[in-house]
């Protein structure tokens, strides 16, 4: 297989294609290849929102070939943390990249006016679009779909909302209808480059050498993903099905992580969303699972009987972030807040966790009505939260402008660190299942619940005695395996289907010979490279801390002490140090 990188310099307009097949043979693709490039490129003294700051998008060898290999990876220097920024998104971006024959897209520079980048196969254009500046993420898609949508449903559209234009450190990049490069503030980098959007499509065909084997394997994988138990949860209620079980096990963050049981969980449960608001399940391109759930809200916004219909995709994470963690117990209020967040283009988890902190800071007197322009912040008061979001968009006061710089910034300025729930500088994901989840957020390459799935390790150990060695080993193994799947790049919801034997067969059919050993060797190198990069940018295991507040809340597995947390981090660090040394050796060779 051959792989290409397209580099675009927005300052000079220079466009360059280059063959990067050797990188794909060394580092598989996706996250592996991008980590290598980022390790060479990203420096500690690089300002993430400066013209030199690169954005990398990448896909892997499975994209376009196998079902639910429907993600693309973005790597960059995070404007939020100053460290490795990594985010993954579905939609049809991967498909557009594959059919344009672009496996890595590197963007640097800064355009002299608002532009969007239009890529159609070899044709790369930087198109001025001043009239799009200031438009919401949703409006931008509508307009670009109309002007560029001549490809009969093939183009993919990435764009930022006003939050990204304001260089909000928690701005996301929205992909097609409803997927996001959410975390770590990629939206701010696009904003800093005057890059409002990217539209990409292609007409290339993806050759298959071993057609009958391919057909057979495809059908096998397809049947698992489309019809078996491994994806049923995502097809049915979607990730929102987590709400009730998590609340029932004291694991659903409620009112800024004050408790894990939410008395209003029924009102924001996956079941309730489905019964009252679900209008459609949709899928990323080439994914038979179809986990995306579109909720619809119909509301009268003015007399005489003027109605609007708001459609927004919902998932577990936004429900935790704008629901239970803000004490909001009505699905319709969650949808209302969510659709506002969608239009502005913030990462929903970051903004939600920041609002929860702000509410607690208000209640403790760290901030008052002078900061908030008279608004009284209370858990459960969704109407006020909507006004808060409006004030942030308008930059109404300094405090509101600060809120969209992320929680780390706010804490430095206003205090309240002990109840600021961040890990590695990133606003926390929504799992209070126990120590494995917390440790996973802290040590994970992207400080995400998706790095090593600590919540599922916790769930496995519910009601059982802790075994830090075994648990940390599980976290590590999961993280390592995800180096493979995130390089291929398959969706995590398809992980039940993509087992080692199927991955090896999948590669073989595409003409790539790997063994379990050789693949895991690459996984270790990639893993090691990521932490080499993280340390280069200032990350240190020794400075990881469990937010003070989390030592006092009852999680799914009871109280978690600093000591327990620190011990596990130490165990994990030892494993990672080995991978780092291993990667360093390999890179020298």
């Amino acid at each position: 297989m051959s792989f290409r990188m397209l580099s675009v310099n927005l300052s000079t307009g220079k466009v360059e294609f280059e063959d990067v097949s050797d990188l794909f043979s060394k580092y598989i693709g996706g996250t592996g290849v991008l980590s290598y490039l980022a390790l060479k490129d990203l420096r500690e003294d690089l300002d993430p929102v400066s013209p030199e700051s690169p954005i990398y998008f990448g896909i892997g060898p499975f994209n376009g070939y196998y079902p639910s290999a429907s993600k693309a990876v973005a790597i960059f220097k995070s404007p939020l943390t100053g460290n490795l920024g990594e985010s993954h998104a579905g939609g049809r971006f991967f498909m557009a990249m594959a059919s344009a024959g672009i496996h890595v897209l590197r963007i640097v520079g800064k355009a002299s006016c608002p532009v969007y980048l239009s890529i159609k196969d070899e044709e790369v254009k930087i198109i001025p679009c001043s009239s799009l500046w200031g438009k919401t993420a949703t409006a931008t898609e509508r307009i670009l779909r109309e002007i560029e949508g001549t490809k009969r449903g093939k183009e993919s559209i990435l764009r930022i909302g006003p939050a990204g234009e304001r260089l909000s450190r928690i701005a996301c990049v929205t992909v097609d209808s409803s997927r996001h490069f959410g975390r770590h503030g990629l939206g701010a980098i696009m904003g800093s480059k005057n890059l409002k959007a990217i539209v990409i499509s292609g007409n290339r065909t993806l050759r298959i050498s071993n057609w009958s084997e391919y057909q057979k394997l495809y059908k096998e994988i397809f049947d698992i993903l489309a019809y078996s138990e491994v994806s049923l949860k995502y097809r049915d209620l979607g990730t929102a099905s987590n709400v009730i079980p998590l609340s029932n096990t004291h694991s659903l963050p409620t009112r800024n992580f004050s408790q894990g049981f939410f008395e209003g969980a029924d009102g924001i449960s996956g079941e309730h969303f489905a019964d009252e608001y679900l209008v459609k399940q949709i899928a990323c391109a080439h994914c038979p699972i179809g986990c995306i759930h579109m909720g619809q809200l119909r509301e009268m916004f003015a007399e005489p009987h003027l109605f609007r219909t708001v459609r927004t995709s919902y998932d577990y994470e936004p429900i935790f972030a704008l629901g239970s963690n803000l004490g909001v117990s009505k699905a319709e209020e969650v949808l209302r807040l969510l659709s506002y967040v969608e239009r502005q283009g913030w990462d929903v988890m970051s903004i939600g966790v920041t609002l929860a902190w702000a509410t607690e800071a208000f209640q403790r007197g760290l901030i008052n009505t002078t900061h908030t322009n008279g608004l009284v912040l209370s858990f459960g008061d969704a109407q006020t939260y909507l006004k808060v979001l409006g004030n942030i968009s308008k930059g109404a006061t300094e405090f509101y402008r600060d809120l969209e710089r992320g929680l780390g910034f706010c804490v430095q300025k206003y205090g309240g660190e002990e109840f600021a729930i961040t890990f590695g500088g990133v606003e926390s994901p929504g799992y209070m299942t126990g120590p494995a989840a917390f440790v996973g957020f802290a040590v994970g390459v992207r400080h995400s619940h998706l790095d090593c799935a600590g919540y599922s390790v916790d769930q496995e150990f519910f009601g059982k005695a802790s075994d830090p060695y075994v648990e940390v080993e599980k976290l590590y193994k999961e993280s390592l395996w995800r180096m493979v799947t995130n390089s291929l790049v398959t969706c995590l919801f398809a992980r039940g289907g993509y087992t080692m034997p199927l991955v090896l067969r999948g590669l073989r059919v595409l003409g790539v010979e790997e063994t379990e050993e050789s693949l895991m060797r690459k996984a270790r190198i990639i893993h090691g490279m990521k932490y080499l990069l993280k340390e280069k940018l200032g990350f240190s295991f020794d400075s990881l801390k469990l937010p003070e507040k989390l030592t006092r809340v009852y999680t799914g597995r009871g109280l978690v002490s600093h000591k327990d947390f620190d011990d596990r981090v130490k165990l994990y660090k030892d494993k990672i140090k080995e991978d780092m040394a291993f990667a360093q050796e390999e890179l020298k060779a």
């Binding site: 498909m95 009969r152 097609d176 065909t205 397809f222 489309a226």
Partner: protein, 138 residues
Amino acid sequence: MAKRISVLDRERCMGCYSCVYACSRTWGRVAGIEKAALRIKSYSGAEGFFSIRVCSGCEDPDCAKACPTGALRPSKRGFGVDLEKKLCNACGSCVSSCISMALQWDEEDKLPVPCRHCGVCASFCPRGVLGMEEVERA
């Protein structure tokens, strides 16, 4: 009587493109969607509606009428069209004349991609949107 590919239940479509990939893979022998004889059209904002553009199996097909060389002809099966590749001059009139935008164009080979009404796409639709339907004859 032959069966024709049909949209049985549009509402169930989730826009996964499994059908499109299946056609391209099976008949075009490539991965991706480039050689498929159908498209799923989605609208901005994932308004949640998809339009499935599959050959209607017209009895008097506009695409064939638009073909200046006789390469695309009404099929002997009584509906839809067949292509005789060597007569095609790649003018693209057929594609633009199919008002429902079902007829696709193979950019690589510069040929239209007429539907074979084989049902492979339907067999890969996880939601039962597509199916084969007996063609009623007057």
